[in-house]
């Protein structure tokens, strides 16, 4: 079990959050790329939500055409560099690599992908140009993976694109959400800057779209609108004491961590509530920030957690402990949090039941709620005729990503309910073609 000291400087921070997938050097890339079998109808490609031609880009690396490899990757996925680092490759491409069937280490696809794209991002060599202007304009709300991917693709098709973004920086949860040991802020921003320099879309920062008037104005100034707004803040948890100081939402905690890094102070004892990947991340992160005790409390069993088991293992290896079958009933404390009262649970006939009289209190100085993100239903109410499903996800056509109001297209977390960067990248790109097809059909 790793024992992390509180980071006192930026350097300490980077040490505690050392990259899980560091950039490959040339020797690693040469040897690893030469292992790829160039499978036919390769399962790794099928497993990639953006369908990157993996055997092709790996062969390009091994034949000395790293730039061509970068092009192959960006051709399918505008977040190719970030995805190489943040994708859960074990359950995607690398999990599907045929080598697994002979217990041979699968090809390190993610790191090869980042290696190839990094070469052009750091040299600044542009591989893509905007298409000849077609006179059409699209507004995009949200500069996350979905929004930016849609913008890039639209630019190659000759559209003018304006992105409206609430925050000060681009890329949504890629920057504000993913764990700092997966990708650094600099790496995230370098890719976006590279794309902006190549393709020239406009991002208007600190520009939240929150009124019906704003929406109507966009409708009159643009030919179509893409919604890449993602999900909202951490969902409310309705238990007594939840409003005490030092009870934070996971998404908010990670955002502060990514922006302030070593300046964030994490107290000695932390309880993280939840069983999804965000909970695993928060547990890993607080451990790396030097907390002495980090408890990951989940109301069901370990096997029922929604998070990937490798993310749980990572949290445990950083020092967190799992506590299962416990339901928080009350946050204890007067002004600040002093602990959490739990009740034990058990599974009976497929139902979760409380074990009466099993209540107990665990002391702590920080509670992180990783109980899911709220949906953006209030925002979607601003748009006439836009329908949501029972889970408050935007309903879209699965190919064109057109919503029930034909002027609006949507993709990413707001449509899938919360997935990965790579899904946003796929949806945004596909939606660009949906927009193109729809506008073409309007004109003809």
């Amino acid at each position: 079990m790793a024992d992390y000291k509180r980071p006192a400087s930026e350097e300490d921070f980077h040490q505690n959050f050392a990259q899980k997938k560091p950039l490959m050097n040339d020797t690693e890339a040469y040897l690893e790329s030469s292992r790829c079998l160039f499978c036919f109808d390769a399962p790794c490609v099928t497993a990639c939500p953006t369908g990157i031609d993996i055997p092709l880009f790996i062969k390009q690396i091994s034949s000395g055409n790293t730039e061509g490899a970068a092009k192959t990757i960006f051709d399918q996925n505008w977040f190719g560099n970030a995805c190489g680092k943040v994708c859960p490759t074990k359950v995607l491409c690398e999990g599907a690599c045929v080598y697994n069937h002979q217990d041979v280490k699968p090809i390190d696809i993610g790191r090869l992908q980042t290696y190839a794209t990094d070469s052009v991002i750091s040299s600044g060599k542009t591989l893509f140009k905007p298409g000849a202007s077609n006179g059409r304009k699209v507004a995009i709300i949200g500069a996350g993976p979905a929004g930016i991917s849609c913008a890039c693709e639209l630019r190659t098709l000759g559209y003018e694109v304006d992105i409206f973004e609430s925050k000060e920086k681009p890329s949504g949860l890629t920057l504000y959400g993913t764990a700092p040991y997966k990708i650094t802020n600099e790496e995230v921003l370098a890719e976006i800057e590279y794309l902006e320099n190549s393709l020239g879309f406009n991002i208007h920062y600190n520009s939240t779209i929150s009124t019906k008037e704003q929406i109507e104005e966009l409708q009159s100034n643009y030919d179509a609108i893409f919604l890449g707004v993602g999900l909202g803040p951490t969902a409310k948890l309705d238990i007594p004491g939840i409003d005490l100081k030092n009870v934070e939402g996971a998404v908010e905690f990670v955002e502060e961590l990514r922006m302030k890094q070593h300046e964030v102070t994490v107290p000695d004892r932390v309880i993280v509530l939840g069983g999804g990947n965000t909970a695993m991340d928060a547990a890993s992160e607080t451990s790396r920030m030097g907390a002495e005790s980090v408890i990951l409390a989940y109301r069901r069993s370990k096997e029922q957690m929604g998070g990937y088991s490798f993310e749980y293992d990572l949290a445990v290896s950083a020092g967190a402990k799992g506590l299962f079958n416990v339901q928080p009933v009350r946050i204890v404390g007067t002004d600040k949090v002093e602990g959490v009262e739990f009740i034990r649970t058990e599974q009976k006939n497929g139902k979760l039941e409380y074990v009466s009289g099993s209540e107990f209190i665990l002391e702590c100085e920080l509670v992180i709620k990783a109980t899911g993100q709220a949906k953006m239903a209030p925002f979607f109410d601003l748009i006439d005729g836009l329908e949501l499903d029972s889970g408050n996800r935007v309903i879209v056509d699965s190919e064109s990503f057109q919503t029930t109001n034909p002027f609006f297209f949507a993709g990413g977390d707001s449509v899938n309910g919360g997935a990965e960067v790579v899904n946003g990248a796929h949806d945004g790109k596909a939606a660009a073609h949906g927009i193109e097809a729809w506008l073409n059909s309007q004109n003809s």
């Binding site: 040339d26 020797t27 092709l56 034949s63 055409n65 730039e67």
Partner: protein, 445 residues
């Protein structure tokens, strides 16, 4: 973007990436699939005299983790009925009028040659390729390499062909010969429009250690096969170069064949004078899909260098392939080890120590496994940099000032060459060589 289209001796194709006459071009089905995938032309599996084939036909040379770095076969020419092949040529041309479909031929008598040429032209073939290559089976019947190895016979057959052919004729050469320029020149004298090479090399890829039969094993026995694949590329490249720079042959378009798998291989063939290439083994290994790596890479290369068509760089390396006597004897490189990158395998040390010039030393300190170069002893042979497993760890740095150049030919003209065995002008005289007895004293690893 660069234009890949070519006009090869009158045969037009959207790109220079062709399939060689072999199993991948056995049928119209395969060739149509290949054209769909991006290949610009295909030389049909050789048509001709009726044959039968054996079962168990291929053998492979694997090297460490890599399969099929060399590949051999004892397969004969097409064993499908000629009429079926002709019908399919016609059909492929209907779907792909702009792609190159070339009929490869191998028959015996003049009358047979004339007949099959007429049949193929009627079917719509864009060109003909004369297969004088197979070094197994067909040669026992007086065809294939039996012709390729006899320049006079080859010339006669090319002449028979040229009497009647109305589409461009490519003569495919066998590499199983001392001087490739002999059959090359014979084909030009016979009137061929173009040359392709190489066909396969006579080979045995291995022996079964239980029944002592060579691979591929046909019931406890085998035959010599024809060798191809990545392993033969260097030999084929040089043969292409020899033809492309031969005074009476250059000018005749060359289709380069042998070990091509990546864009880089293609570019190298073109730089040495080929103006189309043909691929067999790597397609047999990975399928038609490899053309997407080849095409993307060649285009990238052309864009980077600013070439509009392949003709902007075909043969561009030829002037740099000189005779040894015209190389600059003052050019001097010395190895340098990047200590930051070195992983301490000491392969460079032992390679130089046992296999070259004793110009690398070890620190003697168990904590420091990074070898060092003894500059004075280093002759600049490259060996250490070739064995080093780390990319760009050992580099060969230039040490002469690059000003005064002198070649052996010039020194000959100046009467400044060593003439006796102990002449002080001999190259190795000043070099350090350890005393033989040191071999026994030194604490050798």
């Amino acid at each position: 973007m660069a234009d890949l289209s070519i006009n090869f001796a009158g045969i037009k194709a959207p790109n220079p990436f062709w399939l060689a006459s072999a199993p991948p071009t056995n049928s119209g089905y395969q060739i149509m699939k290949a054209f769909e995938a991006g290949w610009g032309g295909a030389v049909w599996k050789t048509l001709g005299v009726p044959v039968v084939n054996v079962s168990s036909r291929y053998g492979s040379t694997d090297y460490r983790g890599s399969r099929m770095v060399g590949f051999n076969n004892i397969e004969l020419i097409s064993d499908r009925p000629l009429a079926d092949n002709l019908k399919e040529i016609e059909e492929v041309k209907k779907y792909f009028p702009d792609h190159a479909v070339i009929a490869s031929l191998m028959v015996e008598s003049k009358a047979e040659w004339h007949q099959i040429i007429k049949d193929c032209e009627n079917a719509g073939a864009d060109g003909l390729e004369l297969n004088f290559g197979c070094p197994h089976g067909m040669c026992e019947r007086g065809m294939g390499s039996a012709v390729g190895q006899e320049p006079e016979v080859l010339k006669t057959i090319v002449e028979w062909v040229m009497e009647v052919a109305t589409v461009p004729v490519i003569t495919k050469l066998s590499p199983n010969i001392s001087h490739i320029t002999d059959p090359g020149l014979a084909s030009v004298q016979g009137g061929t429009d173009a040359i392709s090479l190489v066909n396969t090399f006579k080979s045995i890829v291995g022996i079964n250690l239980d029944n002592y039969a060579p691979y591929p094993d046909v019931g406890g026995a085998g035959s010599n096969g024809g060798y191809c694949g990545p392993a033969v590329k260097p030999i084929a490249l040089n043969m292409v170069r020899e033809l492309a720079s031969h005074l009476q042959i250059k000018g005749t378009p060359i289709s380069g064949i042998g070990g091509i798998e990546t864009w880089r291989d293609v570019v190298e063939y073109l730089l040495l004078g080929a103006s189309s290439v043909q691929v067999c083994t790597s397609v047999m290994h990975y399928g038609f899909g490899i053309v997407r790596e080849i095409e993307a890479g060649v285009l990238q290369f052309m864009d980077d260098k600013g070439y509009d068509t392949i003709y902007d760089f075909v043969g561009k390396a030829l002037p740099n392939v000189k005779e040894w006597k015209d190389l600059n004897l003052n050019h001097k490189v010395v190895a340098t080890i990047d200590e930051e990158k070195c992983i301490g395998c000491e392969l460079c040390y032992i390679a130089c120590e046992d296999g070259a010039h004793q110009a690398i030393g070890l620190s003697g300190d168990p904590g420091n496994r990074t070898p060092y170069i003894i500059d004075d002893n280093c002759v600049g042979c490259n060996l250490c940099s070739l064995v080093c497993p780390v990319q760009d760890c050992i580099t060969m740095d230039r040490r002469d000032d690059g000003k005064a150049e002198i070649t052996w030919a010039e020194r000959m003209a100046n009467n400044d060459v060593p003439t006796t065995f102990n002449d002080s002008r001999a190259g190795g005289l000043g070099h350090y060589v350890p005393e033989p007895s040191l071999a026994l004293k030194k604490n050798q690893k």
